[in-house]
């Protein structure tokens, strides 16, 4: 079966979270982009053609589904539509002060800001206002225990100075300066239940020896309080290896924790705290519109292994906070016009092995509509997790190929042109300037070149305005 695949993206630049989520000091994780680039560059139609020689897979950036073209129209134009737009909203804590105090942000916004995402440039105003009076005395509380929370802590501690040779956005370089003095990462459960992976944890424990002048601290009390009978079971079951190694790493770090006075001039600290659940955000004494502290309730773990819950103990601890980053999970959103297939509670599109099905009691598959990635299974896992996930969805598509082609042949859509040509005609008629691969290359080259030209060793200087990107094409 000959296939033609078009990848539609809202931004002019492709690659999603690999560009705007992966931390700037993890460039090796971004190597996977080369895999993606090959998709567009290999297999150009030898027959040529004047549209810049596109092959099986084409890129169409700067196209907003729901605005420039509707999902329904796409379903009419293509045999199969795969929803793979991830999760761009946040899970909320739902506590006092979360939505009205300045300085309470989602980690997702903060990460998108320092990674130069064009839609989050405004976050810089909030952050720079908070940090303007001196970074040393700044307290940041990061709520959550996944890799995103650890990334935020590490980036805040390293600061612009520690990230000067990365592709971190220019605006973050200046605002983050030498790094903030105090970062506390809090989670309501114990260290064994944390979603983080050991590589990111180890990085935090090594900040001092790697020259970033930041002490790492974790309390033995916290570790012991989380080591319930069920936790011990979790540390001995099959698949316990990652947890066992994390437990070992943190216990060693707790034993090594040196008091501030003794740590030879490191003025900054990153602390991991466990069994603390944020109860309220309180305003600052000097400015009641800004956050001043996070009131946390001490918790204890109850429940069977693998299903322990954090139960409040009635004891509270107040953590000073000039900035609070909430990192408890991303959440998917429905596209405009999407009815009957989106699960609001979980924030995913209903599906069975990637085939989109309705929300009804007896789920009915929607012919030709598929979903893949975080939007399919929820916002968890690493880049590699999406490989078997994608294979799962593609297997469903391949099994359906026969019936999908019948739909195509029947001309059910009533459109004049089909597939890529049909999309391009539609976009042109609506005066939408889609960015194809060749055009994106101009943005890519400009960003890479800017790093060379300004004398820095930055591998890329990201363009943070869509207008500026489109101006290059």
């Amino acid at each position: 079966v000959d296939a033609s695949i078009d990848i539609i993206e809202r931004l002019p630049t492709p690659f999603g979270l690999v560009r705007s989520g992966v931390a700037p000091d993890h460039p090796e994780v971004k190597n996977v982009e080369h895999d993606f680039e090959r998709l567009f560059e290999e297999d150009k139609d030898d027959a040529g053609g004047d549209e810049g020689n596109e092959g099986t897979i084409a890129f169409r950036g700067n196209v907003r589904v729901g605005k420039d073209v509707s999902l329904e129209e796409l379903q009419g134009l293509y045999d199969a539509v795969i929803l793979a737009y991830g999760c761009e909203a946040d899970r909320k804590l739902g506590i006092v002060g979360e939505s009205d105090l300045t300085g309470v942000l989602s980690a997702r916004e903060f990460v998108a800001w320092y990674n130069g995402h064009p839609d989050f440039v405004h976050i810089g105003e909030i952050v720079s206002d908070i940090l303007k009076d001196g970074l040393e005395n700044i307290h940041v509380v990061v709520i959550g225990q996944g890799n995103v929370a650890l990334d935020c802590a590490r980036v805040l501690a390293k600061g612009g100075n520690g990230l000067s040779e990365t592709d971190v956005s220019s605006h973050a370089l200046s605002v983050l300066g030498e790094g903030v003095g105090h970062v506390t990462v809090v989670g309501r459960r114990g260290h064994v239940q944390g979603a983080f992976t050991i590589k990111e944890l180890r990085e935090l424990t090594r900040l001092q020896q790697d020259g970033f002048g930041t002490r790492f601290s974790v309390r033995e009390d916290d570790l012991n309080a989380g080591t319930t009978h069920s936790t011990t079971e979790e540390l001995s079951g099959p698949g316990a290896r990652p947890k066992v190694r994390i437990d070992k790493l943190l216990r060693e770090a707790a034993a090594k924790s040196t008091p501030p006075e003794a740590s030879g001039g490191s003025k900054k600290e990153v602390a991991l705290r466990f069994l603390l659940r944020p109860a309220e955000f309180h305003p600052s004494q000097s400015d009641s519109t800004k956050i001043g502290s996070v009131v946390c309730e001490r918790t204890k773990l109850e429940g069977p292994a693998g299903q322990q819950n954090a139960i409040g103990t009635g004891e509270y601890e107040v953590l000073p906070a000039d900035l609070a980053l909430i990192s408890i999970g991303y959440k998917g959103v429905p596209l405009p016009g999407m009815t009957g297939i989106f699960d609001e509670r979980r924030g995913v599109v209903n599906n069975i092995h990637g085939r989109v099905v309705t929300n009804s009691e007896t789920p009915m598959p929607i012919k030709g509509l598929y979903v893949s990635g975080w939007l399919k299974r929820g916002p968890s896992g690493i880049i590699g997790t999406n490989i078997p996930d994608a294979r799962d969805t593609v297997a469903s598509i391949v099994a359906d190929v026969k019936s999908l082609l019948l739909k195509h042949k029947a001309g059910a859509n009533g459109m004049e042109e089909y597939g890529r040509n049909g999309l391009d005609s539609l976009l042109t008629s609506r005066k939408v300037r889609a960015v194809n691969w060749v055009a994106y290359q101009k943005i890519d080259k400009a960003e890479k070149g800017a790093g060379k030209n300004d004398g820095s060793s930055r591998p890329r200087v990201k363009i943070t305005s869509v207008e500026e990107m489109m101006g290059l094409i």
Binding site: T56, R245, V394, A395
Partner: protein, 209 residues
């Protein structure tokens, strides 16, 4: 350009349905392979042997479809030494489910480089710099122990950290990008974890609509 690693069957003679996987890599490739497959009657098998590997192809007359698995594309040398083509080689067998692919591995290159050079479906998303777990391979226990017993070849802390995230981890698992082929690898079998082969971890086979 044809880039493919393995074709998979929809039906065997005994009626067992194997997991399917597919994507078309190029129209030209698809056309030529389609006609090759259509020429074969079904359910039947044809075997073609290249100097390096055996391609197993099946065609199902009921489906009249040829399912092609994408290969890993062009070879990437990012992580790992550049070992010249005239280097001494040892015979290494990659075991991928029922398939056994015997290849000449160059002494001095990494197992990931060997796999990519011979189009064995090992991912290598980070391009061999120990920043992911997609090149996870399973070594024979004796070889694993021999490597682990030597400071120069034992897994580093960084590799162990990455292995923590590999699905289907075994006691003799390593990252292919961190294992260097030596003359002691002659006749060694390197097994790919189940995840690389099956779409569905639970063995589910999708029913066509």
């Amino acid at each position: 350009k044809i880039v493919l690693s393995r074709l998979s069957r929809t039906h065997t003679r005994d009626g067992h349905r194997a997991p399917m996987k597919a994507a078309v890599v190029s129209r030209a490739a698809a056309r030529s392979l389609w006609s090759a497959a259509a020429a074969a009657t079904a359910p039947t098998t044809t075997r073609t042997t290249t100097p390096q590997r055996t391609l197993v192809t099946y065609a199902d007359s009921r489906w009249r479809s040829l399912v092609i698995c994408p290969g890993v594309g062009s070879v990437r040398w990012h992580g790992g030494p550049s070992v010249p083509a005239d280097a001494p080689t040892v015979s290494v067998t990659f075991v991928d489910g029922p398939e056994r692919i015997v290849v000449p591995a160059r002494v001095g290159e990494t197992l990931l480089q060997t796999a990519h050079r011979h189009k064995i479906p090992v991912e290598g998303a980070c391009e061999g710099v120990c920043a992911c777990s997609t090149c996870h391979v399973i070594l024979p226990e004796e070889l694993y122990d021999a490597l682990a017993g030597d400071e120069g070849t034992e897994p580093t802390e960084d590799e162990e950290d990455m292995l923590d995230m590999a699905p289907g981890l075994t006691p003799s698992s390593r990252l292919g990008c961190q294992v260097t082929v030596t003359d002691k690898f002659e006749g060694v079998e390197v097994t790919l974890p189940g995840m690389t082969r099956n779409f569905y971890v639970d063995g589910h086979v999708p029913e066509p609509h």
